[in-house]
Subunit: 250 residues, 2 copies
Amino acid sequence: MTGAAPLAASRPVSVSQDCKRDTCTNGCQECSVRLFSVCAALDPAELEELERISRTRLFEPKATLFEQGALAGSVFNITEGVVRLYKSLPDGRRQIVGFALPGDFLGLALMDRYGVTAEAVNRVRVCRFPRLTFLTYVDDKPHLMRRIHEFAGHELSLAQDQMLLLGRRSSEEKVAAFLLNQQTRYARIGTSSVTVPLPMSRQDIADHIGLTIETVSRTLTKMAREKVIVIVPDGVRLLDAERLDQLAAA
Amino acid sequence: MTGAAPLAASRPVSVSQDCKRDTCTNGCQECSVRLFSVCAALDPAELEELERISRTRLFEPKATLFEQGALAGSVFNITEGVVRLYKSLPDGRRQIVGFALPGDFLGLALMDRYGVTAEAVNRVRVCRFPRLTFLTYVDDKPHLMRRIHEFAGHELSLAQDQMLLLGRRSSEEKVAAFLLNQQTRYARIGTSSVTVPLPMSRQDIADHIGLTIETVSRTLTKMAREKVIVIVPDGVRLLDAERLDQLAAA
DNA sequence: TCGCGGCATTGATCTGGATCAACGACGCCG
DNA sequence: CGGCGTCGTTGATCCAGATCAATGCCGCGA
């Protein structure tokens, strides 16, 4: 976090603003997630150019970044906060296909319509790029394209793991695998710790791993009772990662 | 199919051969799946170059193209047949993350290890490329890279649909959605018809949509009883796609 | 032609997780 | 400070789909 003045917390919804303010004060060069994000593929001159086409944007909890099926006007790089990505059935059933963390890129597929809906879980900060401008920018930077493709490949791999989880794992295995997964992902962006943040609601977790909120709650309680985890505000502390690995049947 | 002599059916396992024979007789130019595959992005000169680094390969039913976790030595373009892609748990539970059809590209992510196992469902013919050679070939062809990325984006989108199916749909919805899905995919490669081929076993279908073989069988029987489909050898005929759409809750 | 092995179907029963129903714990606002 | 809305937990019951168990249906090889 650079020393910029924070925005007033009372803003009702997302706020567009020039990149010169806020965390981007010192530009992409100083960006705290640059090395984990697609931007790591860029040299200083390219970063400067990128900065010119980007705008920082803030989203309050529950704000929608974009909706499934809408024309994809922008692509996003998350710099702070967590975003839930989901698909819905007409009757309201929901599947959260993933939680995007800082460093994650939204709109990787570069398709003309969004395939999922994206909502802020907590306060979210992003770098936003007009999609077509970004496409032009990428066009003569094969190294960036390759990096974006690597990210897409990683995303696909995660999706396949999730299919295995959804299709073939028991409720306890699902919860265990989810917790370990979250830990791994947070470790990658530096927030490594035995305490895994869970900023999303129980309902979100349930909709991600294909269970009901009651089953998620019961399973977490059971794991806490068995001293495998401790439930703390907005997260869990993993006491016995070994045991959790077994439970996940990985 | 070009007029080349068919291979002896008695070959025990996959057979490597020069691209000049078989369906590739007239080269990539005449390839029946070119327009549906990543190759459609290439001009005649580029196709010729591609041909030089490719080899046609045949796989008998149940033969393994590559295994999850193995070093990714090759990438593949399927020209004939169906391939199942799956992940397994240590205890043998299996999740088929997708069925690859002619025109599909295996190894899209271009990563150094395969993320899934690929097995031939029926007789499969592929164009095989050494991965590193292919990478070099792609390197100075941004249009091809973009096309490959488009395919990867499509793949990701399919994966997300599958997560919704696995996590939030009932058994009947799963089967209905699967059948419609298969129909759509076959339509795309020209085999459009109300009769949907199902070359894979019931167990494969079950492992794809997260059910047991018994539930798949019962559900298909029920749909046939209700005159929504007719079960035919190696496939089903869709009688009432309208109704099937409702059942799928799409 | 028969017998065998690998699917697929069908029936009976069981159970993991869903559903239904309180209740408790905060945090917020009046 | 008290009432209310949201979220999480816990208990009781139910049921969709799993599991267990035959049986049927080829295709193939002896």
